[in-house]
Amino acid sequence: MTGARDAVMGRVNKALERGDGAEARARGRVAAWLADPEPNLIPRRGLRPHEGRVGLFREMAERVQADVARVPRWRDAPAAVARYLRDRNLPQKAVMAPDRRLDRCDWESQPLLRLSRGTALGRDEVGITLALGGVAETGTLVLASAPERPTMLAYLPETCVVLLATSRIQGDYEAAWRALGHELDRLPRSVNLITGPSRTADIAQELQLGAHGPKRLCIVLVDEPEA
């Protein structure tokens, strides 16, 4: 509807009342804001060295009911996942992101854990995927959609397991966003910032987990960097 577009833009222009010279100045201010921004006010809380960031990430994630495990190497992750499922009487059956980085884990070490690769469907009870970042200030995971990392793995199953290299944990959202920009050549369809499992307090302001998304969020932190 070009009619509507021109009408709305016309109303905005009229309301802002810019003359000819002012128009150019306004464009200059916009270009300046986009290009050379005043740095954001970053909470001091997240600005600490690596190990402090990992500790804060864990503390904040646990505070919002995420379960966090930490293992030294990628090959140790499958045992942590299997233990998590076993301890909670959950099925040893999961659908996992087809991301090649997950192949480095020694999944054969867990013969009882049956894995398929792809995106989650309604019947899948456990989804396993990989985060591209973590934000210590609030214990937030940064997931980015891609053919090898379908979004629904983190939303449809009742239990969501996310693996994250501790080297990817940043102090704040801004640093995580910059890191994502360096790593990917284009903006993913969906970047999901996830802070704890799904919840609602709609019924009498009582906290309930698993409103539509996962009831359980298990974060496996891996200290060995990715190759």
Partner: protein
């Protein structure tokens, strides 16, 4: 939704006499008021971030045309489509046409106040589509034919037994007792709906010009299931939702959850920037953004431009003594509380909403907690003046104001009258220092006591101290 803002007084009277509602509203004081304060104190930079948030919004609004252009270009570059709508009717038609083009039957929706504003659901139903609300609270309202009463907690007016009754009526079976059972039952019903839907409609908390991104924020994860599973995703948002950069959105996101529910961050914050890419295993094939004006451009360039900074956190209503007594439905339309008392007269016309700017004690708590520092009491006062100018104030109130004005213009007389009134009230208050009843003020004392003045008048004290501060 037929507005009943003119009946605010009657609505409020009924609300105050409803013990279930009072019980439900009482939870906000012990809940969100406390959690917000804790969250604000836990972040050293919170107050400074509020200034930043205000400045980001002011800059964006002052350059809104340029950011709208940039946003539109970026969405199309990302493979999405932008539609424009001047008013509610145009927006509804755009959404219907997208649904028809997609051959849609069922439409899932995640919670969106703007779709309430444009009354989208009844329109879609009249056009043969089945809209399904997926936010738990919104779903409860949809199946019981009610409207939301709060920006963030749409069913905050309902008690647990009331919700149990609604769910039993909708789902049949035994009556559910615990919140856990109720959440589980709704989860099972809605699961199938997500997967059956052809189109998913969401609002947006922010639109990012630099990247062409729509940001959704939910605790339940229902927005992601709404935009991730159907073939088509439609975002509908009013034009003031723009921010320049993702970094600006982060500043505002740091304010949003803390101000709304006192969480450090909402569980799911998602940045969606288009349809699914090559090889993606999920995501919609088409991505549409509907940019709606519906009265916002009328606020630009006026004193009410400040209201366009609103990020819809609900903090103003959570801290408003009038909202906490009267509840959201008393305000008679989509937006309740102090933000509604400013916005509703703008969107419906002051002649249809003039009681709302008067539904305030001007205690100023709304402005104290507003994350983007909107001067809500000042804006409500502007509406009061406008209502007076347009002769919308009832004759008795007018006469009262005229009498007070006459008296106030005669300082000696005013002081004597104030001294007499203060003395009389103190006598009447007796040792309790409170008055249960007062002639001609039954409306006021009907639901609360009037505290009697403790000392003399302000002017008497001022004179005694000879202008020195105590």
């Amino acid at each position: 939704m037929e507005p009943t803002a003119l009946a605010f007084k009657d609505n409020a009277r009924k609300a105050i006499a409803n013990p279930d509602l009072q019980d439900a509203l009482g939870r906000i004081r012990s809940g969100w008021q406390v959690t917000r304060r804790r969250a604000a104190l836990a972040l050293d930079e919170f107050e400074a971030l509020r200034d930043r948030g205000r400045d980001i919004k002011n800059h964006t609004l002052a350059h809104l045309d340029l950011y709208l252009e940039a946003f539109e270009a970026k969405v199309e570059e990302n493979g999405g489509r932008v539609h424009w709508a001047r008013d509610a009717a145009e927006a509804r038609t755009v959404v219907r046409d997208i649904c028809k083009e997609a051959g849609a039957k069922t439409v899932t929706k995640s919670k969106s106040m703007v779709t309430e504003e444009i009354a989208l659901n009844p329109y879609l139903e009249a056009n043969g589509l089945t809209p399904v609300e997926t936010d738990l609270g919104e779903w409860i309202l949809q199946v019981s034919g009610q409207a939301p009463s709060h920006l963030v907690g749409p069913v905050v007016h309902l008690t647990k037994p009331e919700i149990a009754g609604i769910m039993q009526k909708e789902l049949g079976g035994p009556r559910l007792e615990t919140a856990e059972e109720m959440v589980g039952a709704a989860r099972r019903v809605l699961r199938q709906k997500y997967q059956d839907a052809d189109v998913g409609i969401t609002g947006a908390n922010f639109l990012v010009a630099e990247t062409g991104t729509a940001i959704t924020v939910t605790n339940e994860g229902n927005a992601e299931l709404t935009h991730g599973l159907p073939r088509v995703h439609v975002v509908i948002a009013t034009i003031e939702k723009l921010v320049p950069r993702m970094l600006d959105a982060f500043t505002l996101l740091r304010l949003l959850a803390r101000s709304a529910t006192g969480q450090e961050f909402t569980s799911y914050t998602t940045l969606v920037s288009g349809p699914k890419g090559k090889g993606d295993l999920d995501g919609p094939e088409a991505f549409h953004v509907v940019l709606l004006d519906n009265g916002r451009t009328k606020m630009l360039g006026t004193a009410f431009q400040e209201m366009l900074r609103c990020i819809k956190c609900g903090a103003c209503m959570n801290h408003c003594p009038v909202y906490l007594a009267a509840g959201g439905h008393s305000y008679g339309w989509v937006y309740p509380g102090p933000m509604g008392s400013v916005l509703t007269p703008q969107l419906l016309g002051i002649e249809k909403a003039h009681p709302l700017p008067n539904a305030s004690t001007f205690c100023g708590r709304c402005e104290e907690v507003c994350p983007v520092r909107i001067p809500l009491p000042r804006l409500m006062r502007l509406w009061r003046e406008e209502a007076f100018r347009r002769d919308l104030v009832p004759p008795t109130a007018r006469r009262g104001l005229r009498l007070w004005g006459w008296l106030a213009a005669r300082p000696a007389l005013y002081r004597r009258a104030a001294g007499l009134a203060s003395g009389a009230l103190r006598l009447l208050g007796g040792r309790r220092g409170r008055l249960r009843r007062l002639p001609l003020a039954g409306g006021w004392t009907g639901s609360r006591d009037l505290p009697a003045p403790e000392g003399g008048t302000f002017m008497a004290a001022w004179k005694r101290q000879q202008g020195r501060r105590p």
